[in-house]
């Protein structure tokens, strides 16, 4: 890693700094809300497949930043072998933490592929991570996920419009899609990416395996699963719950797109965990929330 720059930018009403660093020929961007607000550990957010800090954390970033410092990483997609993807991305997250938040415990929160990356980062550098949150993550890509990945790949070759519709179908919960108007469905459909970078991330997704790294995760961990998730089914989150020693588990009623379907509930879960990671002991399933 070498150069870094910092320029002011805004996300809504939250002041933030935008910075970047280089790892080899990859440029990694990040956003930093800077203001500490409190003695709480800073939260580092890692987005998922096809997303960015902005597109996945447009809600979580500013709302969490109201109470504690938040840094969000824009992952760069590595071009090497896909089975090295998770570690190459984890190195980016580790580099951002070392640069922006050196020598202090951070709470690392990853969503989807970002959860895989965060778990890898925490397992390979336990010294950097004080708490870990894995939203819609998975332990090791299984046959159901490979089947979906196959369909994704085939549709990308044959029918990109159908691929977008398929992505919307997979990403959101059935109850949410059922409520939407035709226009809202079309707006969702058109928001999905099908470009080469997305395809490269889908290849990385095919090769995810946290089996070896999960037992090395030492910090308190919160696993958040979506009850209606077709892309990383909740049973995958339960496998993480089994594999990580100091883990607790909870579900939100949502599809994979929980950052869109239940953003306020995620703010609640992340903020509460960050304030007191051991409110619930290792092995606990959080009490059902009945607002």
């Amino acid at each position: 890693m070498s150069t870094a720059s910092t320029v002011p930018a805004t996300a809504g009403d939250v002041k933030e700094n935008h910075g970047s660093l280089h790892i080899g020929d990859l440029e990694v961007n990040f956003f930093d809300s800077v203001d500490e607000h409190s003695g709480l550990p800073p939260i580092v957010l890692v987005h998922g497949t096809g997303g960015s800090a902005r597109s996945h954390f447009g809600f979580l970033f500013p709302m969490l930043a109201a109470k504690q410092r938040v840094v969000a990483v824009d992952l760069a997609t590595p071009q090497g072998p896909p089975d090295e993807g998770q570690i190459r991305m984890a190195e980016q997250v580790q580099a951002v933490i070392e640069k922006v938040l050196p020598d202090r415990p951070v709470t690392l929160a990853g969503y989807s592929l970002g959860a895989v990356v965060a778990a890898t980062a925490a397992g390979t550098r336990p010294d950097l991570v004080g708490g870990l949150i894995l939203m819609a993550g998975w332990l090791k890509t299984d046959a159901q996920q490979k089947l979906r990945n196959d369909i994704w790949r085939a549709l990308r070759q044959s029918d990109v419009e159908a691929l977008r519709r398929y992505q919307a179908f997979c990403a959101f919960s059935a109850p949410l899609l059922a409520m939407l108007s035709d226009g809202e469905i079309e707006a969702l459909v058109s928001s999905f990416r099908t470009d080469d970078l997305m395809a490269a991330q889908m290849e990385i997704n095919r090769h995810v395996d946290l089996t070896d790294v999960a037992p090395k995760i030492a910090c308190p961990t919160l696993i958040v699963a979506g009850t209606d998730d077709l892309m990383t089914p909740f049973r995958q989150s339960k496998r993480l719950f089994g594999a990580i020693a100091d883990a607790r588990y909870t579900e939100v009623t949502s599809g994979h797109a929980m950052v869109v379907e239940r953003p306020a509930e995620l703010v609640h879960l992340i903020a509460a965990f960050n304030a007191n990671p051991n409110q619930y002991p290792a092995g606990a399933i959080l009490p059902t929330r009945r607002p």
Partner: protein
């Protein structure tokens, strides 16, 4: 006192003042825990609070019914997403009856004065039904309950029929009359479409145009209600979806660009769709940031305003002379009826002039710089007094019932603690109360309530503080304010044994 008639609940552990959502909710929880030593004092002759008082045509809640109800008493029978006021009142009456609150309720028992007794460390509440004595006093008196009339010169001289929206005169025939409606808030926009149907002429006095979003109301089908009855989890799932969706709307209140723009678009595109006349559209376009005042939901207000017998006067009512109402724009209107829909006393609560704590200090005096309470529930100098739905509990984006339930949890834990500690008195220090209030002020300063460029009923005009408003997610209120922390309270004294 010798004037008191015999009453088994004359002397109790907990006195609850008010039988609206807050007071009944607490009463239900006490009953379910097997508590019997509590009394609920209600000034009116029935339970129901706002839903008893507001009977105006078209009255309904602007929070979806599956969410605007107790989590511990879900209701499969709501007729629609936004149920009429009568259904909400019926829901509360059924709750009071079926949960066995009847023996605990005292009607016509207005709190005339509540006083902390320094000698036995207990509360005395004087009512027209005699005095009541309790270890703990719970002010479940609400803040949308005491009507506020506009200060308009000559209003009292109006020769026609005049009443407040929450004191509707159903005996007065309105059909064919020339009617003025003062205000364009949550009540007015429900009343106007109803009156437009029957009035000869209707004038709406608008001081400030509200933001109005589509209501998205719908009827629950018989099949849906049947499912709700057969599988309670389906009601809860709808409630949870509504709660977390509503809570996400706080991002707009905190002025996050994308969410603010979305909220504005929802309102202004609704206006564009429903009103084509550019002049009228301009009059109906608000001049402040969305969310500063309560966002209203209606599909029939804009159409009603455009009826030939309806006139929108985009100016406040300035004065009244006989049967003539003059607007601030100088227009004069001959009227038979004036409906005043100008809301309630929200920042300087009449009940606070009737509660006297240590040293005979009135709560209103303690609150002369604006009302405040530690965790929105306890105040310094008022031992064993707990407030429900008081300062720092109002939301523009979610259901107040959720807030009330969080407070009830805090209060029940406090009562448990007292039981386990020989009935010691619970009182917060000024420092703790002030620190909490300061945090709320700082939070509010980041929200549209303070920064939106309007004056709303969430603000205390004496000092500009948003004393009524909880400036955060609703879920954050539960996270912060539901837990009872005995360390935050001083607890030296003990309540004397009951007689």
């Amino acid at each position: 006192m010798p004037t008191s008639t015999p009453d088994a609940l004359r002397d109790v552990s907990v006195i609850i003042v008010g039988a609206g959502f807050s007071g009944l909710g607490l009463g239900i929880q006490l009953r379910r825990r097997g508590e019997s030593s509590f009394v609920i004092l209600e000034r009116a002759d029935d339970v129901g609070g706002s839903w008893r008082d507001n009977t105006y045509p078209g009255v309904a809640c602007d929070v979806p019914s599956p969410l605007y109800s107790y989590s511990f008493r879900t209701n499969p029978d709501w007729s629609r997403m936004f149920s009429p006021g009568q259904e909400i009142w019926d829901y509360l009456r059924a709750a009071a009856r079926e949960e066995g609150l009847g023996p605990h309720l005292r009607f016509g028992a207005e709190m005339l004065e509540a006083r902390w007794n320094e000698n036995d460390h207990r509360w005395t509440v004087r009512t027209p039904q005699g005095e009541f004595y309790g270890d703990v006093l719970v002010a479940a008196t609400g803040h949308l309950t005491d009507i506020k009339l506009p200060e308009v010169p000559g209003l009292e001289t109006f020769t026609g029929e005049l009443f407040h929206s929450a004191r509707w005169n159903h005996d007065f025939p309105l059909a064919g009359k020339r009617i003025g409606v003062v205000g364009t808030g949550a009540s007015a926009i429900q009343i106007v479409p109803q009156l437009a149907e029957i009035a000869d002429q209707l004038v709406v006095f608008q001081r400030s145009a509200p933001y109005i979003q589509p209501r998205r109301d719908r009827v629950f089908s018989e099949a849906e209600k049947n499912l709700f009855r057969r599988d309670q989890r389906t009601v809860e799932e709808m409630r949870e979806m509504l709660f977390w969706y509503n809570d996400s709307r706080f991002a707009a209140r905190r002025l996050i660009d994308d969410y603010l723009a979305e909220a504005s678009w929802q309102a202004l595109s609704h206006l564009d769709k429903q009103v084509s006349d550019p002049e009228l559209r301009a009059k109906l376009t608000p001049d402040y940031t969305i969310g500063c005042k309560r966002i209203l939901l209606s599909d029939d207000y804009y159409p009603a305003i455009q009826r030939p017998n309806v006139h929108l006067e985009a100016a406040a009512l300035e004065r009244v002379e006989g049967s003539t109402a003059f607007s601030a724009a100088g227009e004069a209107f001959e009227l038979d009826v004036l409906v005043v829909a100008t809301g309630f006393e929200t920042y300087d609560l009449p009940s606070s002039y009737r509660i006297f704590g240590r040293g005979g200090n009135a709560l209103a005096d303690h609150w002369s710089n604006g009302m405040q309470a530690y965790k929105s529930i306890a105040t310094a100098g008022f031992p064993n007094l707990f407030l429900l739905n008081g300062p720092g509990t109002s939301l523009g984006h979610n259901s107040v019932i959720y807030m009330i339930e969080a407070q009830i949890d805090h209060l029940l834990a406090a009562l448990d603690w007292r039981s386990a500690h020989d009935g010691r008195v619970l009182e917060v220090s000024s420092d703790i109360e002030n620190a909490f209030a300061k945090r709320l002020d700082e939070g509010a300063a980041e929200t549209v309530i303070i920064r939106g460029g309007c004056s709303s009923w969430y603000l205390d005009p004496r000092n500009g503080r948003a004393t009524l408003s909880w400036p955060d997610f609703a879920h954050r209120f539960r996270d912060e304010c539901a837990p009872f922390d005995p360390a935050a309270y001083d607890h030296g004294e003990q309540s004397a044994a009951r007689a």
